[in-house]
């Protein structure tokens, strides 16, 4: 009996540590974003409101950051999907040496620090005159997004048995009809997950955008960085901006868990 109680207490402590670790930064972020009046000697703000959000929208710089971030992300998503859907199909259906090598290279890219890629790209972009070019940021963002998206889509295609394609062909389906009537219904969850990966990667991307885009192009993460680090310390507009990066991620996570029954971590269907 005594032992059981002790065990339960330990369980509660461990779980609490994990919860606090995850939720504390989030809590502080929301506090700062919504605090209108907050005295330094008080633990919690006195008055909550949307002051900092309207403040953020008044500034041209941050308005442009919104525009860049929220247009780049869907473009990066579409471009990454356009590349990764056919590539994932090829990698999943032809398990030859070349496709395994490709897969390993792409996976290796996941472990590569982004700064390393950035240092490689910077002279290249400079020479081509692409530094500060909005469109040139799309391929730069894709570099980091592709491994995640490709993995998710390849996994989805690998779960479709080859027999199904052949059965559909014998039943009268052309190659195009096989894609529409067999592969799409069975892989769309994995493809959607892959798209979300690309979207959120682009929204979070900082290092490459800073190296190749700034100062002409500043996305939300750069704007946030400038508020807290670069020039002067104003955590409150930074927190308000951060909410806009956080929001899509939370929405998507809920959507996935609730309605699609897809775990983002697994990425398959």
């Amino acid at each position: 009996m005594e032992r059981e109680k002790k065990q339960k207490l330990w369980d509660a402590i461990i779980i609490s540590i994990v919860m606090i670790y995850i939720l504390l930064p989030m809590f502080v972020l929301f506090e700062y974003a919504f605090a209108e009046v907050w005295y330094a000697y008080q633990l919690f703000p006195v008055k909550l409101g949307l002051k900092w959000f309207s403040w953020v929208f008044k500034h041209h710089d941050t308005r442009m950051a919104f525009f860049y971030s929220y247009t780049l992300a869907p473009l990066v998503m579409l471009a990454t999907l356009a590349l990764c859907i056919p590539a994932g199909y090829v990698l999943a259906t032809r398990r030859n040496r070349l496709s395994i090598l490709t897969e390993n290279l792409v996976n290796m890219n996941m472990a590569l620090p982004v700064i390393v890629i950035g240092i490689g790209l910077l002279p290249l972009y400079t020479r081509l005159g692409l530094v500060g070019n909005y469109w040139a940021l799309i391929p730069a963002h894709m570099i980091g997004a592709i491994p995640y998206t490709l993995r998710s889509i390849t996994a989805a295609f690998m779960q479709v048995p080859k027999d199904l394609e052949e059965a559909a062909r014998v039943l009268g389906a052309t190659r195009l009809q096989v894609i529409r009537k067999v592969y799409m219904p069975l892989t769309w969850r994995g493809i959607l997950a892959g798209g979300i990966f690309a979207f959120s990667w682009s929204l979070n991307e900082f290092i490459l955008t800073l190296l190749l885009g700034a100062p002409a192009i500043k996305t939300l993460p750069i704007s946030i960085y400038e508020y807290v680090g670069g020039y002067y310390l104003t955590p409150q507009p930074a927190a308000a901006l951060s909410i806009f990066i956080l929001l899509p991620s939370i929405l998507v996570a809920i959507l996935f868990e609730r309605y699609l029954q897809v775990s983002l971590g697994l990425g398959g269907s």
Binding site: P161, L164, R169, V170, L171, Q177, L186
Partner: protein, 359 residues
């Protein structure tokens, strides 16, 4: 009306010959079996007919029309896969209707035909279910229904029963044969299971290393194998190796074979291929051997044998016996029992024994 002809077909994977068929004709309405061990090329041959594998050379003819370069979706064949390959995202109804919808048939025609196929296969109460909700036997029926609903020119089966348990497999064999005879669709059936091929097929091709060793009705394949491989692959087969000493009866095809250890055996032989002095292997199967008495030991084809091992299997007793240096298999009803080491006399049936040329 469908006749399938393979002409001069060759398919290689690297250096391995997967299929090498100079000529094969599958007749109209026939249930034709491709039987052989794994890797013998039977599935490759079936896939070449289906259009899923392209031969390196040769032609596939369907009623005289060359379809070698016609893609699978334009051949109008029905195929049942080993895994059954049902679409997991579609109900049984939509699985069966898949090909009909591709052909853009009107909705009431689709309903009528799906109903017809489902009733024929006795799965009309499962139409709203998904494949994962079905047993193996039910999935197999859906796969067959999906193939026949298109009124295909021919039906192709790729080991469709190998994922069922033994009892069910035996039952489904007869149902498949009945169905095929009812619909009169020319059918090709790939299997590695001899009993299955014998039960289902009108004629069988025995394949080995991509080549067809022999084509014939089941009785013919069993009682008149042309090669040692066919004899060994079909039934429980042992060989006695020797040489033909003389031809005893030309009209009945009987020859006297002297084995390597001096036994004189009277056996049937195909005299077009076997002559005096030719090296042969005599095919001996359990049902060619009967019990003899000691008093008949001087009669032809009666030999003394020693029981090496006896295995009781219920309805029969299975023996491993030794005649001279040759190990043979022999069976008795369980009312007669011999122990190992016992001496018995056996008679080999000269009309059943087959002397196959070996060199």
């Amino acid at each position: 009306m469908t006749v399938i002809v393979l002409e001069n077909i060759l398919k290689k994977y690297g250096k391995v010959v997967a299929a090498d068929i100079p000529y094969l004709e599958i007749k109209d309405g026939e249930f034709f079996g491709l039987l052989g061990p794994s890797g013998s090329g039977k599935t490759t041959t079936l896939r070449i007919i289906a259009g899923l594998t392209k031969p390196d050379r040769g032609r596939v003819l369907l009623d005289g029309e060359d379809i070698t370069n016609v893609p699978p979706e334009k051949r109008n064949l029905g195929m049942v896969f080993q895994s059954w390959a049902l679409f997991p995202h579609l109900t049984v109804f939509e699985n069966i209707a898949f090909g009909l919808r591709l052909r853009k048939l009107p909705e009431d025609e689709i309903r009528k035909r799906v109903k017809w196929a489902a009733e024929l296969l006795q799965i009309d109460n499962l139409l709203e279910r998904y494949p994962y909700q079905l047993s193996g036997g039910q999935q197999q029926r859906v796969a067959v229904a999906r193939a026949i609903v298109l009124y295909p020119r021919a039906l192709l089966f790729d080991e469709p029963l190998s994922n069922l348990d033994a009892k069910l497999r035996e039952q489904v064999r007869f149902e498949l044969r009945k169905l095929q005879k009812e619909l009169k669709i020319t059918s090709v059936y790939v299997t590695h299971d001899q009993a299955e091929a014998f039960a289902i097929c009108d004629r069988i091709a025995i394949m080995n290393f991509g080549k067809i060793e022999q084509v014939g009705a089941p009785e013919e394949i069993y009682s008149r194998p042309k090669t040692k491989f066919v004899a060994e692959f079909i039934g429980i087969t042992r060989f006695i190796d020797g040489k033909v000493e003389e031809i005893i009866d030309r009209s009945k095809g009987l020859v006297k074979v002297v084995s390597e250890d001096g036994l004189e055996i009277i056996s049937w032989a195909d005299l077009d291929r076997v002559d005096k002095g030719k090296k042969v292997s005599v095919v001996v199967r359990p049902d060619y051997i009967s019990l003899a008495s000691k008093s008949s030991s001087r009669e032809p084809n009666v030999f003394k044998a020693i029981v090496d091992m006896a295995t009781y299997v219920g309805d029969i007793v299975d023996y491993e016996i030794r005649v001279g240096k040759w190990r043979l298999r022999f069976r008795t009803p369980p009312t007669i029992r011999f122990g190992s080491g016992e001496e018995i006399y056996v008679k080999l049936d000269e009309n059943k024994l087959i002397a196959i040329p070996t060199a």
